[in-house]
Symmetry: C2
Subunit: 669 residues, 2 copies
């Protein structure tokens, strides 16, 4: 067996042995796809295993995350800091080799994958990110960015809607820095793909503007290499290289769906060793020759990243200002002045929808970052809703259509891919991508939102049209359960500002925050709170704060509102005062920020023993945490209705009178 | 102007006037697509406006639901019970003409649409339903079913991932009873589609096995008719008829995205009247000639449905048993004996995953319904996970591959389309479709789940692998927030059975229930509760019930569990007894059922003043409703982890010891 064959088999049997040891895992993909992975990693992929964060590295995304054992085998063999002990602890508590690859846990894992289709979407985001950097930082004679993005995808990835959406956009944007290797094994979990997946793949991808290549023998290393090199040479089109493989190659379960998701078993593993000429029965065996061959990547990688640093040094001489920007970008620190550049609002301003306020904030912020700091921090767009969600960064270009500072991405009506692409942008480098749509359509992108939270990717999700007060468009367009549902996602920070000033704070928080943030905004105009009267900046950052106090020693009742309902709560508190009730009004823009405060602060806002009446135009489930047994929630445990927003306000129980009456009832008056 | 032109303009200006009157709505589509809608409704669509539920009617789905004004205009003109007063009350509180079409509110509206892509997915489900009925009930010489499904789709629909997924499956299944009219107007909300949607539509749909036709002039009535007739003649392939139109046709905003989503305004509306030769300034004008022409549909429809009833009468003579089945199916009543046909389990049974128990129940149920009742009630499948979710109905065929009783549908890895298709099946007639995947991937199908709830479509969603105890696959495959998140959807009933016997009850409930149900099942084996000891059938139906009581006059503490955590709760109650604590153990499989009980029952299960400790392997938010201020929740407010399920149990705080210790802490002992 030549060294190539030895390396491929090493990858295969490391994977098989990991899965046998764990008694859990997916051997089908590693056995079939090891050759393409080997060709890619050994002959094409540019990376530095000792500097996994090298900015100009090629990105490799295992979209078919169930093949994780193969990825860990690659990382180990190619010199990343993933020692053999970790491979032996595959899928165990506390290991760096979890069941599906997790970004941040194992060096060299670019994205958390497993939910099918997401990896392809994130790869498109990374390819967009790469293109941004090329267009921004490359000089005619110093090319500091030129990396590629590779994704390994399975049938399952390509059946998911998100993969079509992402592919459609990648074709439109002519992302020729993206190459997908398709592990075409003709088998999915329920059996042969003839049962569920019979598309003409070439036709499909060509229709989306892709270059399609095919390799008929998944073990033909040179054939695979040639196809990928040809893909890299194709200009103006992303490429799909479909490689015909055999799931569970060499095993008794070859070509059967039973090879997909469970260990081969002792006997079958032995038979596989025999059929593939792997003579060592001892598990986790790595032939010295194979190791030596693969580990050459360490030296190769060091030279690559050193060459890149030389390029940056040359850039520093030729174009010092640009080089400074680059360093600033790579460093990820924002210029000191950015917070001061945000607009401020006054109570004298006319009522303003928070989506409009957000637009002003975003634009001011982007302008400031552009002038003072690295060019591209804020990049993003909406799912074909710019005129409604107001997220266009005016004065800046459109990605794919203008070369200079094209901060604006037209995602099209593709919420799901938008989320995945935003994740890819955030993972790639120091972008702070934003992705906007109507709140109700966050349902279309739950999967990437969850992944962002799991990866702590700093994506800013902007969700407007945030309640039944959308009005005439009716229940299909009126979120009811969405705000609470987003609060359930661990690690996602949900911000629902009450007015323009709170919207400024929402953006400040979003930019400062480590993980993903969802900013929830109104369609309808709301009054601007008086910044002189309310301590908005200090209060917002703590998640909830007292806006107004009733007269008397302590409150009889605390009224809590979020977003547009804060104004109802404020008015109701005033009305209650007239009735001799001392009511405190609290704005609670963020549960997550509030929960991070100490018990003392939380008790200061919501004193023990004082009944709480919460008002939010969404489901009531969840609020009992704050209102307790003596309090109540005014919410909406039903779908919305098509009617003018003001009518909905009245009829659905969100008028000031309704709140006052409920409050009096609570107090037994 | 000939009568055709008069009718088309009537549709246009009724729509424009509705939108002007409401000061809200989407005139762009009605102005451009009125001709295709008119051709379809006037020359092709088979319906009986006085019997909107006629079983063999063609289905028309306005996937581009924002064009609702056009649909209401059609319904009114063609004689459905939608009087002019309703058109005048477009988008107002309590009207039958809401902002987007709502099934159940206006006669003749087949599906609630608006969230883009859903209508196309539901249309595919309806086409599958039609094929089921043809294959089951048509005799060689009596063809009782032969209807078509038409969908009107927009750019936005075709950009959504769900449309690709649904189209891919429709092509594979050779659904030649499906025709999509594509309103190809070259404009979406952010501007020309060149910015976001440049696919080769023909290539895309042909790659998915569709027949594609093109009409270059959207005002060419005969051209449109010819293309649709040619589509109907194509065998073995669904058809897309792409019709080039102009958004906002005839208005000053024609071909601009500003025509899409807001009223034209008084001046522009007047200019549009002038440019299209509409002389009457009076709004809501219907020329007598146009009305007379369209209303011929009433007579035509009566003849069509009468002819169908004759066919059924002939069938009754030729094949009385089959005719009986058909009546049973159309009637929607299940045979009396179905509940008795469900299996029962005993405590002597070995531990069994509830997904396995569910498989036994489904299979028994399906067999019984098949023997005793109409053939097709349960139809469905999984998103390529049958071997894991265990939803295959064995002994029955596979839809698209076998003609006889093909209850099993291979949806492929297409959760989103699966949900939409299941909705379409449920809307079409009396099917009880089921759709299965891992619980964590319910995130991919939030939009159709919500729509099912909004439409009260009786879909049974089956979600297995229901917690962090999935184990090795890790956080991407471990639901944490999903159970609670589903509970937030108004009108969705969530059932999380604790064992095999509760799983039987879950199915009984699901079949009896009017709206959609989600059954949440374990991957791991759980003990079987002793049916002799626990009053499971009576208790389950009430959503929560007492499994065991401690000794003493009343409980010191109530332990509440759901699903697999019920067993932990039971064991903890026993341990607490040994420590002198009287602990009640409660199983709470369904919040929705529990909330439907009277206060008295709820208080009997969860007595006022007794602390409650809830245990559920998911987020704690929401549980405070039941545990109150003195109680606590043992849950998981973080993502899961890749490790063997048992390790996860221990390490994440779900051991019996952890529950006991928390309980003692709560009681201050």
């Amino acid at each position: 067996m030549d060294v190539d064959g030895l390396c491929v088999n090493t990858l295969r049997f490391l994977s098989v042995d990991m899965i046998e040891q764990a008694r859990s895992g997916h051997p089908g993909l590693p056995l079939g796809a090891a050759p393409m992975a080997y060709v890619l990693w050994d002959r094409l992929l540019r990376f530095d295993p000792r500097d996994p964060a090298w900015p100009d590295r090629d990105r490799f995304v295992l979209s078919a995350g169930h093949g994780s054992a193969l990825l860990y085998s690659l990382l180990h063999l190619y010199g990343y800091d993933l020692p053999m002990e970790e491979l032996r602890r595959f899928r165990q508590w506390g290991s760096r080799t979890p069941g599906h690859p997790e970004r941040g846990l194992s060096p060299g894992v670019e994205a958390t994958t497993g939910p099918l289709g997401q990896g392809l979407g994130m790869a498109v985001g990374m390819a967009i990110a790469g293109r941004f950097l090329e267009d921004t930082f490359n000089l005619p004679d110093v090319r500091v960015f030129g990396h590629r993005v590779y994704a390994l995808v399975s049938d399952g990835d390509l059946m998911e809607g998100v993969s079509y959406e992402a592919a459609s956009l990648a074709g439109l944007l002519r992302l020729d820095n993206l190459v997908c290797l398709y592990d075409d094994n003709g088998v999915s979990l329920e059996g042969p793909t003839a049962k569920a997946f019979t598309e003409d793949l070439r036709g499909r991808f060509e229709a989306a503007g892709w270059n399609v290549l095919r390799v008929e023998d998944g073990n033909d290393l040179d054939g695979i290499e040639g196809a990928v090199r040809s893909a890299l040479a194709a200009k103006g089109r992303p490429s799909l290289v479909a490689i015909r493989t055999h799931i569970g190659y060499g095993s008794p379960k070859q070509d059967s769906h039973s090879a997909h998701g469970e260990p081969l078993g002792k006997e079958a593993a032995r038979a596989t060793r025999r059929s593939l000429g792997w003579k060592v029965e001892e598990p986790f065996h790595v032939p010295a020759e194979a190791l030596a061959h693969c580990r050459k990547a360490v030296e190769r990688g060091a030279a690559l990243s050193a060459g890149w640093r030389d390029g940056v040094a040359r850039m520093r001489k030729r174009a010092p200002e640009l080089a400074g920007r680059l360093e600033q970008f790579l460093d990820g620190k924002l210029p000191d002045g950015w917070k001061a550049a945000l607009p401020s609002f006054s109570a004298a301003d006319p009522p303003l929808a928070t989506r409009e306020a957000s637009s002003k904030v975003m634009n001011a912020l982007n302008k400031a970052l552009h002038e003072m700091g690295p060019y591209h921090i804020l990049v993003g767009g909406s799912a074909d809703l710019n005129p409604s969600v107001k997220t266009f960064l005016s004065g800046f270009g459109e990605f794919g259509f203008t070369k200079e500072y094209p901060h604006n991405i037209h995602f099209g009506v593709r919420e799901h891919a938008m989320g995945a692409i935003a994740n890819g942008l955030a993972l790639h480098s120091r972008f702070r991508p934003y992705a906007a749509t109507f709140l109700v359509f966050s349902d279309y992108m739950r999967a990437p939102i969850r992944l962002a939270a799991l990866m702590r990717a700093p994506v800013i999700f902007i969700f407007t049209h945030d309640s039944v007060f959308v009005g005439e468009d009716g229940p299909t367009h009126e979120p009811v359960e969405q705000v609470m549902s987003l609060r359930l996602v661990p690690g996602l920070t949900v911000l629902r500002p009450a007015d323009a000033s709170e919207t400024v704070e929402a953006w400040r928080t979003a930019i400062d925050r480590k993980g993903p943030v969802a900013i929830i905004l109104t369609r309808q105009a709301v009054p601007t709170l008086d910044p002189a009267r309310y301590r908005i900046p200090a209060g917002f950052g703590r998640g909830a704060y007292v806006l107004s106090e009733g007269k008397g020693a302590g409150p009889d009742l605390v009224l809590v509102g979020t977003g547009s309902e804060v104004h109802v709560v404020l008015a109701a508190a005033e009305e209650l005062e007239k009735k001799g009730v001392s009511a405190r009004a609290v704005s609670m823009p963020s549960w997550e920020l509030f929960e991070e405060q100490g018990e003392q602060y939380r008790r200061a806002v919501l004193p023990a023993g004082v009944p709480v009446l919460a008002v939010e135009a969404g489901v009531t489930t969840g609020w009992h945490r704050y209102v307790g047994e003596r309090g109540a929630v005014i919410g909406l445990d039903r779908f919305g209705v098509s009617a003018p927003g003001k009518t909905a306000y009245e009829k659905l129980g969100f008028s000031v009178e309704a709140v006052v009456s409920r409050a009096m009832g609570l107090l037994g008056r």
